[in-house]
Symmetry: C2
Subunit: 206 residues, 2 copies
Amino acid sequence: MRRISIFASMLLDEIRRYKLYLASQSPRRRELLSGMGFDFEVMPTHVEENHPAGLSPAEVVRYLSQLKLSVIDLNHFPENSMFIACDTIVVLGDEILEKPHDEDEALHMLRELSGREHTVMSGLTVMTRTHRATDHAETRVKFRNLSDDELRHYVHTYKPYDKAGAYGVQEWIGYVGIESINGSFYNVMGLPTRLLWTMMEEAVKK
Amino acid sequence: MRRISIFASMLLDEIRRYKLYLASQSPRRRELLSGMGFDFEVMPTHVEENHPAGLSPAEVVRYLSQLKLSVIDLNHFPENSMFIACDTIVVLGDEILEKPHDEDEALHMLRELSGREHTVMSGLTVMTRTHRATDHAETRVKFRNLSDDELRHYVHTYKPYDKAGAYGVQEWIGYVGIESINGSFYNVMGLPTRLLWTMMEEAVKK
């Protein structure tokens, strides 16, 4: 729901002069971008999410967020368009956990996360006709020890196959299983809103 | 929405054998307790939320969460009843910020929070016929510098008069204004779900 501000000098109003496109199908990202006060169009781009070998996790998410906008031809869009892409992964030690393909892989990921701290990383790319920038956010997340019954219940009931690391922080397992987080909560949900705000600010100021 | 588990040995199912009562009118607390997987009845108790002088902030929230259950006569409820009460405050230095009474007070609180770190504290009391326990959770929250236009926009649009510290972390100001949190996110929303889970576990094991 869009709300109109009576304070005309706000950055919010400057950004609202742009036509926003979100290159993502994630319902969480849509919800969060709405919560930031924006109307936008959802325009998922279809790219093979492969990245060169040898990148660090931060480089991977930055690369993939850029890749998602790489197929856009700016000439086909209004001059005041702004495009947003995001890629989120879960990093445990040296390992990158992406979306699980099936129940076994989801359970395997969650068993690894149980009782340990991991890092959620999101790469963000914001692009207008005159500006393009990429950055990333990191949040540390600590799970308590979860029993196998709890993990099976979660995977069976919530089917977290569209979620990096096989969990949603805004679902049952996030409520009862996460000890603490350190950093941006909304990054763990899939869109680092505070970082996006700063990047949008830079895009409209340029 | 309640979902039935096929894994009968779970704590979730043990707690579901109780009749749960939430002594709160807060829609956020209702949403979070639902998200934990429970059906419950909302039964706000009406007590004057005064506390003795000289208590520390942690003692205040613990005291007030106990107070909210103090008026309940267990004999009027089924034997397998479990009652939950929670009280949340915002602590900035030595000062306790409760709910603002009007726009001026809300703006005053938010100006104080802008650019600084504060602590959100929730006291929780869980009570059954044979068990009663109180505990509390603390989360550190850091706001970026917010302009007066931003604060006015937020207060005018979201009217945060039912929220301790005059903000909702799940609203616009939380998305664009919070740098980081350290601890339980859901505590900042008004119910430390992970702590509540542990306290419910202790209540059903006794």
